[in-house]
């Protein structure tokens, strides 16, 4: 027991110097505490009933830091582009990379418990970054020809490994697997629309996606059905 508050008249538990309600210095505890039962409230020797867990973050400080850092970066980017006109391309590339990195970090932080959904995120972010890079450099359809099909194929490979080798609960991941496989078919559209200079990477991606999809439906039909039934209940 910390003591008695002369302002509100309560007996304060724990190790407070001042009353946590009134901020008034505590005096020696009164005797009329409601300890009528055999079990008495915590004594001085015992730890406080609630842990004084360290702050996980300090909202105000965090916000201040983020705002200051963002403003500094934006302000700094102007003199850099003025001073080095030849470096506009590389500077933007660095910007894009940093942005993608932060997005991936964010995705990892919020989805770290779910590998499948993290892969979807990575595919989307990396593909967007590649397309943006292409737009900036004006290259010969590098993103749609090479980058995105490669990203999609490796993502499918990663998911295949996660589900078939690591063997997480397959029923849980089937819905996401189907999503990413469909996603892997997007490079096929690139070929149809004629956005590629070489068709092979996209065709490999489409072929791999279809093979994995077919294999999944054949081998895991029951689990897939159950998962769909649960998710589509009306």
């Amino acid at each position: 027991m910390s003591g008695h508050c002369p302002s509100c008249g309560a007996d304060v538990e724990g190790t407070w110097q001042a009353c946590p309600l009134c901020r008034v210095g505590l005096v020696a505890a009164s005797t009329g505490t409601p300890d009528a039962a055999e079990v008495t409230p915590a004594t001085q020797a015992a730890p406080e009933a609630f842990p004084a867990a360290p702050l996980r973050f300090h909202r105000r400080k965090l916000r201040r830091l983020l705002i200051v850092a963002s403003v500094a970066v934006v302000v700094a980017s102007f003199p850099v582009q003025l001073a080095l006109p030849d470096l506009v391309g590389p500077v933007r590339t660095v910007w894009l990379s940093v942005a993608t990195l932060w997005l991936v970090v964010l995705a990892t932080a919020t989805r770290r418990r779910n590998v499948g959904s993290l892969v979807v995120w990575l595919v989307v972010l990396l593909s967007l970054a590649a397309a943006a890079w292409d737009l900036v450099t004006g290259g010969p359809a590098w993103a749609t020809t090479w980058a995105i099909p490669a990203i999609c194929t490796s993502a499918n490979l990663a998911l295949g490994i996660v589900i078939w080798v690591v063997r997480l609960d397959p029923a849980e991941h089937l819905a996401k697997l189907a999503l990413v496989l469909l996603f892997g078919l997007v490079p096929g559209l690139f070929v149809i629309f004629g956005w590629v200079s070489v068709a092979l990477p996209s065709l490999v991606c489409v072929g791999f996606s279809l093979a994995l999809l077919a294999l999944t439906i054949v081998l895991r039909r029951r689990e897939l059905g159950q998962a769909l039934h649960r998710r589509l209940q009306v």
Partner: protein, 458 residues
């Protein structure tokens, strides 16, 4: 793998959950000696077997959430984090409760979508009984009565809303369903549904309801203020006003808020959300959520009239509104409307993320029209040999606005205030109300600010 669709109220909890309000609540008991984690784990293993519902993890469907049975087993953990932190993460499949120990306290934290206060209290009472029984086998074996019954208690099954309020064939429209339910209830009661019992005056529009504002804690942890009072003297005060303990403490709470905060211009009323346990009207053994809430209003005096706040007036005003809600008919009407919403065929096919947005928006509007909330779990009774080793029992919930929860064990009543703000002004006013009447009060407060945490003993 067993699975069931989430019950009615739980859907709202999921939509309303946010960084501040985790929709987690905690039951704690203070024992007469340090907690032995190994024994607590044994007790938990035994009780966990009897409550299949507690095996549930929450999963997201396209249209609704559902509870799925899991093979995970709970482990007791030392209580060294802030209270009522998140229990459900959409991308994890963890159990929806945790059992904690610290010093002489055992705590049970539960995600509200799993069960309500009453359902969790059944689990907690069995856990305490099992723990104390294992700590003191000598005279429990002799008595042979204190051990909880073996066998399954809360089955992984249909919720009580569905059991009691199956809304017809499911082919009627929401409006028709709600109306017919209201009419049949009114027929039973012999009154016109539009003139059904309710508040004397209408609750003012959202803008007219007083809202408590404050400074959020640095990392959004909940401020808990536990107030311990002797039951009998407080009960005597309530009886002197001719109202129940629930209404009396709610009135004192509103009085304390008014003493600490001056209503802003245009604020003409204070409202308190009060849950009603439906099990007393519609008996069920289901441990899943089964309650309805009612909103009680206290109208503030007109601006300019400097009329002092009289506690008795608040008591009577709240009591007049609360009494009629404690009837089977009134509750039936209210619940049928809710269930009708859930069973409406058009609403059923709206994808879950959209439903979540709509419910979340509705919840935000409700919050704007609510000054405070309270919850009363009543008197806990444990088997006598167990009760002798258990002192105070506490109960609190995460809160987006000022809230208090009350529960009593033997002759000690605990009132636990929670709020996302660091301020403690109205708490002090509440305490002064009782110390001023010669009633001894003990307070225990969580540390939330940087300074308070730094001053804690290491």
């Amino acid at each position: 793998m067993k699975w069931v669709r989430l019950d009615n109220s739980a859907n709202i909890f999921l939509a309303a959950r946010n960084q501040i309000d985790t929709k987690v609540f905690r039951l704690s008991a203070e024992l007469d000696e340090e907690i032995d984690p190994a024994v607590l784990q044994q007790a938990l293993d035994v009780v966990f077997e009897q409550y299949p519902l507690f095996r549930a993890v929450l999963r997201r469907g396209v249209f609704w959430y559902y509870l799925q049975e899991s093979a995970r087993t709970p482990t007791v953990v030392a209580d060294d984090a802030p209270t009522v932190t998140h229990l459900y993460r959409f991308d994890s499949r963890e159990l929806l409760f945790r059992v904690l120990y610290r010093g002489r306290r055992i705590s049970l934290e539960i995600f509200h979508a799993l069960t309500d206060g009453t359902g969790s209290l059944w689990f907690f009472q069995d856990l305490l009984t099992e723990y104390v029984g294992r700590r003191h086998p000598e005279y429990f074996d002799a008595a042979g009565a204190a051990q909880p019954d073996p066998g399954v208690k809360q089955e992984f099954a249909v919720d009580a809303y569905t059991h009691w309020f199956r809304a017809g064939t499911g082919r009627t429209s929401f409006a028709a369903d709600a109306a017919s339910a209201a009419e049949s209830a009114a027929e039973l009661a012999g009154v016109d549904p539009d003139a059904a019992p309710g508040p004397r005056r209408r609750t003012p529009r959202l803008r007219g309801v007083m809202r408590v504002r404050g400074v959020h804690s640095p990392d959004l942890r909940t401020r808990v203020v536990e107030v311990t009072l002797p039951v009998q003297p407080v009960l005597a005060l309530a009886r002197a006003e001719g109202v129940s303990l629930t209404i009396y403490l709610t009135a004192v709470f509103l009085g304390a808020l008014l003493a600490a905060r001056r209503p802003r211009r245009g604020e003409r009323a204070m409202t308190v959300s009060v849950p009603i346990n439906l099990r007393q009207f519609f008996p069920t053994d289901s441990g899943r959520n089964f309650f309805a809430t009612t909103l009680l209003t206290h109208h503030l005096p007109e601006a300019g009239t400097d009329r002092p706040v009289v506690l008795g007036d608040i008591c009577r005003e709240l009591d007049e509104q609360f009494r009629p809600t404690l009837s089977r008919q009134w509750l039936e009407r209210r619940i049928r409307r809710l269930v009708g919403f859930e069973r409406n065929p058009i609403l059923r096919v709206i994808p879950r993320p959209l439903k979540d947005r709509v419910l979340s928006l509705a919840n935000r509007l409700t919050n704007r029209g609510t000054t405070a909330a309270m919850s009363n779990l009543g008197r806990v009774s444990l088997p006598e040999p167990v009760a002798a080793h258990v002192g105070r029992i506490f109960f609190h919930v995460s809160a987006i606005r000022p809230q208090f929860c009350m529960i009593s064990h033997r002759d000690q009543l605990t009132v636990s205030f929670t709020s996302p703000f660091v301020e403690t002004d109205y708490h002090a006013a509440f305490v002064r109300h009782f110390t001023g009447r010669g009633i001894p009060v003990t307070v225990n407060v969580t540390r939330v600010t940087e300074g308070e945490i730094a001053a804690a003993p290491r």
